[in-house]
Amino acid sequence: MTALSLYVHVPFCASRCGYCDFNTYTAKELGSGVDQENFHEFLIREIKNASEQLGNRPVDSVFIGGGTPTLIGASALNSVLESIGTSFNLESNIEITTEANPDSVDAQMLEQLHAGGFTRISLGMQSAASNVLKVLQRTHTPGASVNAAKLARAAGFDHVNLDLIYGTPGESDQDVRDSVSAVIDAGVDHVSAYSLIVEQGTPLARQVARGEIPAPDDDVCADRYEIIDTMLGAAGFDWYEVSNWARPGGECTHNQAYWLNSDWWGIGPGAHSHVGGTRWWNHKHPSTYAAALESGSSLRAGEETLTPEQEHTEMIMLGLRTRAGLTADCLTDSESERVSGLIGRGILDSAAWGAGVVRVTPQGRLLADLAVRELLG
């Protein structure tokens, strides 16, 4: 039986960042029935339900994300992990990640998490430039992330990720270079870098709409992406997905499960799952989610069963984002016919195609969505 991946969502943040549209709540925004102290108990109940449905399936990755998972404390996180261990059959080389905010972890907590079985820490650094952090409304100082990463290494974590955001209005090319240098110096084995997206409904979107902040510029973002890719490449990191770079062996098992369209179960409010060709998503608000668990009613807010055509679309859409790419036999005849046109325009890699693989070129990485649309026709 193929391995399952588990995602666990912790929807709490100490404060909300202006650009963020994730399903997360500050203490003030939270309704009744659930709080940061008892939240992990609900997660554990859903984990048990999941194992009852799926049986004792092998699990090869766990990813606790948010929100800010570390807000509920190391012992709560460890107890969630423990329940996963009892409910499922954990593989020996399992990857277990938790996200963390640079200013919500310390050495003691990191040691506790490592002792509890966590193998990987992912830290939201975003930038080394304080002016950028200010626009993003991040509360940590520029040095905090690098410190936290070093503390994680010291606590015994072999795998540490730092997240960067680029293209923030007010950011300079030099700010980006400084951020990448700081990441390289921190000794991590994984970097994710995302261009800033102005999501509808966020405070940032309102600021842009009011003209207080200019919208991120696509050309600038493209330049910055190239700076990041070049610097990371020179430092021994290789891209394995459009927004992800790793040292050899540092690739994130969990995220690859998404791009390979494997089976994964999302635990927690608003979490999405994909098991056996069906996608579903839980009630979004923690109170609704908790109430459903209490009453024993379904957690699902919605679901869809993918048609073969939709599965195909997703495979192309996800596969083209990765360095591994797609094997030629994944394409339909008419899609295969369109490959040469995309090669001619410098979007798909000619040599890879010769070896039976559909892969984007460095220029094509930034045009991956266009490549998907054109390939699908």
Binding site: N255, L366, L370
Partner: protein, 615 residues
């Protein structure tokens, strides 16, 4: 159509007791409300069954408050003296595009009620129709409406009207169609002042067609005013200008619903049904006579409707082309002035080049196509008709700017109009400047009252068609009114400006403009398109050109980034759904050479500004 009308019997009514009249009014000045009130006052419609604005039938008319197609209603009326009368209220279309139809309605009347809003005064359109009525020797009864309004200034506007028609301010009746005040006095004035129709009952029948409406169930309903003789059911009739003959299936009057009658006599107004299915078979302005012992001389004044403004209409979804063709075929049945021919645009695909009487006519047709036939359309910027003489002496008529010849031209003629603008005197400077910019020649200026001015200009129709009305409204804070009528053509220094996308001309964006304005047009179009055309993987130059000479250039930079930053968990189905949506949207993309242009860009680039709705 079985019940019989109250009052004197149609077909045998003594012309002495007949009064035929119309109401000349500006939109919103209360014509429909007054007509409703008259229906109620004569007892023809009771208050309970009163549908607001009884005479305006079509939805668009009701919503826009404009009467597009006229109708005639027969009102039996007992005067204060106890005498019985028959009043025929002939409704007139109230817009600049339908001047000819108005003139035919007027020709069917002996009198006209000039209805003016007591808070606003006379407007250009009303003035034009008033002059038309006076030219037709109609007895004019001046009326101020809405005297119940707090803002009403009856003294001021009575003086204004008196000045225009040459009567005493005391002759101007004061009415509130809303409350009914003054309506009975008005009806008395109608029977007293308006002459009874004159005609020879023993002469061969002659009746004037003043309207022709297509009805799904009955076919074409033709509205006529009998001048001489008599038309009876079972007569065979002849349309004198067309020379065609038809069996009469039904003759009747509207009172206020259609009622079949035995016939119509001298001075009477009613309808004819022959079973024809196309209003072109029964044309406004034509004379109806009997096929047997018919008249030899028509009433005169017939004119073929002539389109003045052209626009290409294209379905947004190319597969709707047959539906658009069927819809136009149907609309044509009810619209003798609409013309259309298939045309192909490289940019927009298959569509029709349509001819209209004017901008409002265009808007109405477009709206009906979209509303009644559920079609999504792109229309190209409206243009006028050009007569071009080449150096070789060959004459070409151009109705589509993209077909304007590039070769050496000896002469180019464009249509001109005589425009009348009525406006508060404080805006005269601004409006004169606007008319100047639009190549206008001042013909004259008159003060209608202390602070209201009538300006008369000769203007190229092309300038009016290009957002003139919007400009006029914005320069006068909405207080100006405009009327115009075609007066011929003039020699002009015009050039065709082409817009090129990535080197390929986009026919839908070609425009014929005055040489002095070519650069400005090119620049504004190129800038507009720069904002509207999404970035492609390659750089896209947008150029404006006169012939082979490039006059301006903008560039849409190449797209370098088109990728979602994050794709985990729930992002995946969101992204897939977006892809599915984009795939749908792709159908709405048009390829111009290698450039993908969204339909929205065409629509936005082709719209000048707001549609020329109410005038």
């Amino acid at each position: 159509m079985t019940s019989s009308p109250s009052g004197p019997v149609p077909g045998t009514t003594n012309p002495e007791i007949v009064r035929n009249f119309c109401i000349i009014a500006h939109i919103d000045h209360g014509k429909s409300t007054l007509a409703d009130r008259m229906l109620q006052h004569t007892g023809l419609v009771d208050a309970r069954s009163m549908r607001a604005q009884y005479l305006d039938r079509m939805d668009i008319e009701r919503e826009r408050g404009i009467t597009i197609k006229s109708q005639a209603v027969r009102l039996p009326y007992t005067a204060v003296s106890g005498e019985q009368y028959v009043l025929n209220l002939i409704d007139t279309p109230g817009h600049v595009d339908f001047t000819y139809e108005v003139s035919r309605s007027l020709a069917a009347c002996e009198g006209a009620v000039l209805l003016v809003d007591a808070a606003q005064g006379i407007e250009a359109q009303t003035l034009a129709n008033l002059y038309l009525a006076m030219e037709n020797d109609l007895e004019v009864i001046p009326v101020l409406n809405k005297i119940d309004l707090p803002a009403a200034q009856p003294e001021k506007y009575a003086a204004e009207i008196a000045h225009i028609i040459g009567c005493s301010p005391d002759d101007v009746l004061r009415v509130s169609a809303k409350t009914g005040e003054g309506v009975s006095e008005l009806l008395e004035r109608v029977v007293e002042k308006i002459p009874a129709p004159q005609g020879d009952p023993n002469a061969p029948a002659r009746a004037l067609i003043f309207d022709s409406v297509y009805d799904t169930y009955r076919g074409v309903v033709t509205y006529v005013r009998v001048v001489d003789g008599r038309i009876a059911t079972r007569d065979k009739i002849e349309m004198m200008s067309l020379g065609t003959t038809h069996e009469l299936l039904e003759v009747g009057v509207i009172s206020p619903e259609p009622i079949a009658t035995a016939g119509l006599g001298v001075g009477e107004v009613g309808y004819l049904i022959t079973g024809v299915k196309d209003v072109r078979q029964s044309r406004v302005g034509d004379t109806v006579t009997t096929a047997l012992r018919g008249a030899t001389e028509s009433l005169g004044g017939y004119r073929d409707p002539r389109p003045m403004v052209f626009s290409g209409l294209y379905p947004l979804d190319g597969s709707d082309y047959p539906e658009l063709r069927d819809a136009l075929d149907k609309l044509k049945l009810n619209d003798a002035a609409l013309t259309y021919e298939p045309e192909t645009s490289l940019a927009l695909g298959f569509g029709f080049r349509c001819g209209f009487l004017g901008l409002l006519h265009l808007e109405i047709v477009r709206e009906r196509l979209e509303r009644e036939f559920n079609l999504d359309l792109i229309s190209t910027a409206p243009n006028v008709i050009y007569r071009v003489v080449t150096d070789a002496g060959k004459e070409i008529v151009v109705t589509n700017p993209s077909e304007f010849p590039d070769s050496k031209l000896a002469q180019i003629f464009e249509p001109i109009v005589r425009a009348t603008v009525i406006l508060p005197s404080e805006f005269v400077g601004a409006v004169m400047e606007l008319c100047q910019q639009r190549r206008g020649t001042l013909l004259g200026m008159d003060y209608l009252s202390e602070d209201r001015v009538e300006l008369r200009y000769t203007l190229p129709l092309a300038e009016i068609v290009f957002d003139f009305f919007d400009q006029l409204k914005s320069k006068t804070r909405g207080y100006a009114s405009l009327d115009y009528e075609p007066t011929g053509e003039q020699d002009a220094d015009l050039v065709k400006v082409d817009i090129l996308l990535h080197g390929d001309p986009v026919d839908a964006f070609s425009a014929v403009v005055h040489r002095d304005k070519a650069y400005a047009y090119g620049v504004s179009m190129a800038q507009k398109l720069k904002e509207l055309i999404p970035r492609q993987q390659f750089e896209v130059p947008i150029q404006a050109a006169i012939g082979s000479r490039i006059i301006t250039r903008e560039t849409v930079r190449a797209m370098r980034k088109d990728v979602l930053a994050k794709c985990y968990g729930g992002d995946i189905s969101r992204k897939r759904k977006l892809l599915e949506k984009q795939k749908e949207g792709k159908k709405r993309m048009k390829m111009v050479g290698r450039v993908e242009v969204p339909q929205e860009a065409f629509i936005a680039a082709l719209s000048t500004s707001d549609a020329p709705a109410k005038k």
